[in-house]
Symmetry: C2
Subunit: 404 residues, 2 copies
């Protein structure tokens, strides 16, 4: 006889729709007769080991719907990456509270946590069903067509570049926009979806899937500036040299690393400033501006893809269904079945845990600084309805009189 107690938590970086997945789990679980209590852990796995739990059974359906539409992680999140002893502690808390279904919404590190916790339960024949629910703006989970959270962030980046391009066309110069994405360039590539007219920016896109060479970069910028009289550039924070060393850290004095051993790339404007200084110094272009999109791209309130929102809801619902009606732990995956429709499958945790997907070659143009139509077709339906569109005045020149 099942305890009917489930626990849900959110890990890693928040997204615009991660609360849709939370609401999906809670609302779906509450309509299953076998479920007696739905707990949430505050600040991810850290909340589990600290027994910092809340009873989501006592939350109203209405407020859950309102929270679902709110960006950020409503339960709080954590950057903790549990090792084996940490996962054993998690399991001890789950056992103490007789939790038999564990749902963790997060990226590939979170999937790895779910995998280890499931193994601990399996070792002692404890009846735990553990389900990883995909979430990441980086779109870097293997076995998924795309990951919830990415489409809304991509929508922000596309609209940001659409606007930056208009601004740059009005006051010409060079504009560098730095976009999140340590290993995968999907989000940076989304900048291209802000283009409408052939001479719109971004004119150059630099992805972590390709080696970054500063000399070639400067030559590219020079050529585009000469062709268009201006240049809009999208750069991934994760661009690196041939040895894999991040360009962002080449100038930074003291580098901050997180619990995963990753160098801190976001949260400062160093990379944009470095590239702008290079362009000013080497190309003698006067008006060079750099923006680092930073946390805006994953947290901005009011820029959500409706497609992303409904899929994020569904992966939460499906997770509960797999747990209740299925036979095994696993990771929910998004599979594309039409143009445009999706269905969901349950991957093994091994298949996704700790692995990183990067942009497929077919999505990157041969020159390495643009994306292909295949990527445009891939991304466009994900951005959802109501994308802002840009219009231009048509040219109707007036003949000169003074002819100076």
């Amino acid at each position: 006889m099942s305890s009917g107690k489930i626990l849900v938590a959110q890990g890693g970086g928040p997204t615009a729709v991660i609360n849709q997945s939370l609401a999906g789990v809670v609302l779906e679980a509450r309509r299953h007769h076998g479920v007696s209590l739905v707990y949430g852990a505050r600040h991810g796995v850290r909340g589990i080991v600290n027994e910092d739990l809340v009873d989501l059974t006592r939350e109203t359906s209405h407020n859950l719907e309102m929270v679902a539409g709110t960006p950020g992680s409503a339960l709080g999140s954590t950057r903790d990456k549990p090792d084996l002893p940490y996962c054993q502690e998690i399991f001890q808390v789950l056992k103490a509270h007789a939790i038999e279904h564990f749902f963790y919404i997060g990226g590939n590190d979170s999937a790895d946590t779910v995998r280890i916790v499931a193994e601990e339960a399996h070792k002692v024949a404890y009846p735990l069903r553990a389900i990883h629910i995909p979430k990441t703006i980086d779109n870097d989970l293997v076995g998924n067509d795309h990951t919830p959270g990415f489409p809304s962030a991509a929508r922000f980046v596309a609209q940001a570049f659409a606007g930056a391009n208009l601004d740059n066309a009005a006051l010409t110069g060079v504009y560098v926009g730095v976009v999140m994405g340590r290993h995968a360039g999907f989000l940076t590539a989304a900048s291209a979806l802000g283009k409408k007219f052939p001479d719109d920016g971004p004119h150059l896109i630099y992805l972590p899937e390709r080696v970054f060479e500063i000399d070639r970069f400067l030559a590219d910028v020079k050529a585009m500036y000469e062709r268009h009289g201006r240049c809009v550039i999208a750069v991934s924070e994760g661009i690196h040299d041939a040895d894999g060393a991040p360009i962002a850290t080449k100038l930074a004095a003291d580098i901050e690393k997180d619990a995963h051993g990753n160098v801190q790339l976001s949260g400062n404007g160093a990379l944009a400033d470095l590239l702008c200084e290079e362009i000013k110094a080497k190309l003698q272009i006067k008006r060079v501006r750099g923006d680092t999109f930073g946390y805006l791209q994953r947290s901005f309130v009011g820029c959500v893809s409706d497609v992303d929102a409904r899929e994020a809801r569904e992966v939460g619902e499906k997770a509960v269904q797999y747990a209740m009606w299925g036979q095994s732990s696993g990771s929910v995956a998004v599979r594309r079945t039409g143009f445009y429709s999706v269905d969901y499958t349950l991957q093994t945790l091994d298949a996704v845990a700790g692995k990183t997907r990067t942009m497929e070659d077919e999505f990157i143009s041969a020159c390495g600084t643009d994306i292909t139509d295949a990527f445009r077709l891939y991304l466009r339906p994900l951005l959802g309805s109501g994308m802002a569109d840009a219009y231009r005045l048509r040219p109707n020149p007036v003949a000169k009189i003074l002819q100076r």
Copy 2:
């Protein structure tokens, strides 16, 4: 007998709604029988002296409506600040093309240009009616309740901080967001409109209307961090020390100045990075992140206040009406007549040209790091309909079992 020829141009930084004013001028002018041709100058006053003009009479009404809904300056803009000889050149071109109505959409520098050009025409009794149409995200034009462009930028800043606050609540630490505004703190103050719950950020707001002292800043941050376990901070790019020296330039090696002699503050992340480094070093807080909102806040596609859009349209329409039916040149001003409604007046160009409005004392709290309810009441109706709202899970703690 009037030539019936009018010229419109856009100056200074683009906004989300400056094309509404352009469309307002063109569409209103085209329905006046006295108007034969509507010209636009490409890239502001520079397009006038270069005779780089387009015939907007040949543009379709439909496309003008589409352009109106597009951010950026559709005619192009310029940072040129004309002196007397430059204005004389402008006047020569106006005369050569028999332009008798000149409309310039811009800030207080643009108003000054209009003023000088009008004087040149007056000197030789040339029948020019010159109207300045207000536009600036800085909200720093005197004699206006607020300026078109500001509400949409304020909406972006409010929504950005609403999201940054949610993100910071999920992954706690210190977050610094740097907002545009050289002398006026209105846009930075708009960050407070993203707050909903009493413990929401921004917890501290630094405006150029108050002297910035780094030691007091650090003490403020420390106190807020201890109270909330986190701290979200809004900082104006224009913050300065007691001598008026911008904090942003205290570390920068070579300072870029524009044609107006202003130090370049936007387009790099230096100020945010400087403040973050100070917080990390002096307060030993590990997770400190800084974003510089940069050009996103004035160009982002898809974040427009409907109130702003309609007022920007109306100042364009009113400008034409003042020119056609009025007796003098001047600057259109926005006057608040209700909660919420506006009407328009025509100020003298002298009253607005080259002058800078800053935040009134009644809008800034006594502590200097927050805004008052008077400011909330002032700004809220300007942000328009459909502002995103943030919801929280209500606390329903689960009793601990392990009690570790």
